[in-house]
């Protein structure tokens, strides 16, 4: 039985007076691969920022299980944030640290593991993303795709319950993007991690997603939530059908 992991209730996002999205309500169950989708500029990445604690909602609530993420005090919120891992669009690796130091940072700060154990975990995480042997490289010395995978290794360093991906396949070649998708699925299957992905890659959406929310930039609200395959088959909304079929319509 699916249990709710993250619940968003009547969320309004705004920069000052400029409302980006209003009235967002959806539930992400434990073990879901949840897709945040919508056209460019509809506030997908902003929604992600609200979920990972970088931006405070103008109105509404975000619950992690039963805890109200933005109403609880800062220490509690930090504890929740420690249970999540984030892969940023730009990878956001610390450019002054090597890959191994990047991944070791949260481990050294939040665990009592010894140096050797941390090194073992670092090597294991790098091997998981296919970067074994790159421990002592600086982020600027490896390619964009490798940086992305190293960012994922860092996001997974603390074995988080939830992983957030901001446009994971942006800037990757089709094969690497596919490998990343496979990695996301196997993470969910083997570790039961809840995964939230911001993307507009149709191939990824259908390959990995089993739940989603569709944001519309014109009406500034969500149009639908649910399994993207079901949305494609059953939705009556022309905007959703157009998005999910690359504008070709369901007939083809």
């Amino acid at each position: 039985m699916a249990t709710p992991h993250i619940t968003v209730k009547d969320l309004t996002m705004a920069y000052g007076d400029f409302v980006i999205q209003r009235g967002l309500s959806f539930t992400i169950d434990r073990g879901d691969v949840f897709i945040i989708m919508g056209g460019s500029g509809c506030g997908k990445s902003t929604l992600l920022k609200h979920l990972i604690g970088l931006q405070q909602p103008a109105k509404g609530e975000v619950f992690y299980e039963a805890q109200n993420f933005w109403r609880t005090d800062a220490d509690e919120r930090e504890l929740i944030m420690r249970r999540i891992g984030v892969l940023y669009q730009s990878s956001a690796l610390f450019s002054s640290l090597t890959l191994s130091e990047n991944i070791a940072l949260p481990l050294a700060e939040f665990t009592r593991l010894g140096r050797a154990e941390i090194q073992d975990i670092v090597s294991y995480k790098l091997a998981l993303v296919g970067l074994a042997g790159f421990e002592d490289y600086y982020p600027s010395e490896i390619s964009g795709g490798m940086q992305k995978r190293a960012g994922l290794a860092r996001a997974m360093a603390m074995d988080p319950e939830m992983l957030f991906f901001d446009e994971p396949s942006a800037g990757l070649d089709p094969v690497s993007a596919r490998l990343l998708d496979d990695l996301i699925i196997s993470l969910r299957d083997t570790l039961g991690t809840t995964i939230v992905v911001v993307t507009h890659e149709l191939a990824s959406i259908f390959a990995i997603g089993n739940n989603s929310v569709f944001l519309d930039p014109e009406t500034k609200t969500m149009l639908a939530t649910g399994d993207p395959k079901v949305l494609l088959a059953e939705s009556q909304d022309p905007k959703i059908i157009q998005f999910l079929t690359r504008g070709e319509g369901r007939g083809k």
Binding site: I52, G53, L54, E78, L79, M81, R82, I84, V86, Y88, Q89, S90, A92, L93, F94, S95, L105, P106, A108, E109, F110, R154, P217
Partner: protein
């Protein structure tokens, strides 16, 4: 209506001619010649539209080409203006006489309609609104400063409780950058400042045959004032700007967001080691600058003004006392806090673009120099009042 005609298409000229048809409400616009960048356009689009405006309203315009020598973006931009004007007037436009490529581009440019509210209006802002905006920006700046100082104090409190998270390696690196690496420039500047002080003083003192008092002037000047001030100016340009640029580029690359979502406070992890490094290194650099300044003064006095090195040394000992050095060192600690605060604050508040990093570095240096000079004036005033 006067027909716009260009009889024969000249080379390098884009021509347009207006042809009347049998139907009085239907006009043909015929484009010919070279419609490329660099060629002259016979009739500017504004004139053409004004011509249409003043004449009777056509209901239908046919766009055609004849002997078109070549075209690039010049032609579609011209056409878009006409099509837009026609749309606002409800005039029907038939583009089927245009080359297929042009038709395609026109369609493409109209495919995604302008998003409502996306265009930034370039209207002139009234003076009062500008003043208001500047005041609000100033208030925002002040709020940012208060927030930043508060957060720094909280991080320092965490440090005192032994709970602050930062890496010792980072602190040591910051210390190296703010201390030993700054020695060459600090040496040069303070040696020269001592030299200048000695020369400026000597011109006056030599009139009374009191050259020996150059030692007093240089010694007291460096220890109480110039050592700390010059070091602070050097460090704000060197280290304060570096802090702002480093933290700013980390913010551009989402590295600061990454720290936050890891549950590591950037204030503790990035700002604290930098503030601590400067507080630790500035007094040492100032002390060193004092020494170099006195050496500079000695070089001038001994070589030019007929005072022996021993005399100069003894006179300096007699004139400069521990409280004088203490005032300079006290100032240097204050300056260190100001430089580190301005640099880190501007870096942490940096926007998300390359130019924002440059602005952050500039603002860091400007702010810290202003803070330094104001603080120096205040401290000097207070010391004077208390007779220290």
């Amino acid at each position: 209506m006067k027909p716009i005609e260009v009889s024969s298409p000249q080379a390098g000229v884009g021509a347009v001619s207006l042809i009347h048809t049998d139907d009085s409400a239907e006009h043909i616009l015929q484009f010919s010649g070279a419609w490329v960048q660099g060629s002259a356009i016979a009739v500017p689009v504004g004139e053409l539209i004004a011509e249409f405006d003043s004449a009777q309203n056509p209901r239908r315009i046919l766009l055609q080409t004849r002997d078109l020598a070549g075209w690039d973006s010049r032609l579609p931009t011209y056409l878009i203006k006409i099509v837009d004007w026609c749309q606002t007037r409800g005039i029907e436009v038939d583009a089927s006489g245009l080359p297929e490529g042009v038709q395609g581009l026109l369609k493409l440019a109209r495919a995604v309609s302008e998003r409502a509210g996306a265009r930034r209006s370039a209207q002139t802002v009234p003076v009062l609104a500008k003043v208001g905006k500047a005041v609000l920006a100033g208030l925002g700046d002040a709020k940012g400063l208060v927030c930043f100082v508060g957060e720094t104090l909280l991080a320092s409190a965490a440090l005192l409780r032994g709970k602050a998270r930062f890496r010792l390696a980072d602190l040591l690196l910051c210390i190296q950058e703010a201390g030993p690496d700054a020695l060459p420039i600090a040496s040069l500047i303070s040696l020269l400042v001592g030299l200048i002080l000695a020369f400026v003083g000597a011109v006056q003192l030599a009139q009374f045959g009191a050259q020996i008092f150059i030692a007093d002037l240089v010694g007291l000047g460096m220890a109480r004032e110039m050592g700390a001030l010059m070091t602070a100016i050097i460090m704000s340009g060197r280290t304060g700007a570096a802090y702002a640029a480093k933290l700013g580029s980390m913010s551009v690359n989402s590295e600061i967001d990454a720290l936050k979502t890891m549950g590591i406070s950037p204030m503790e992890f990035l700002v604290l080691p930098r503030v601590l490094a400067l507080i630790a290194m500035m007094p040492l650099l100032t002390l060193y600058a004092n020494l170099m300044g006195i050496v500079g003064g000695a070089v001038v006095t001994v070589s030019v003004f007929d005072v022996s090195l021993v005399q100069y040394y003894n006179q300096t000992l007699r004139a400069v006392h521990v409280p004088d050095f203490a005032i300079g060192l006290g100032k240097s600690v204050v300056f260190a806090v100001l430089i580190a605060t301005a640099g880190c604050m501007r870096g942490m508040q940096c926007g998300r673009s390359a130019s924002a990093v440059g602005e952050a570095a500039t603002a860091a240096v400007v702010n810290s120099i202003v803070y330094i000079v104001v603080a120096d004036a205040l401290i000097t005033l207070i010391c004077n009042r208390f007779g220290v």
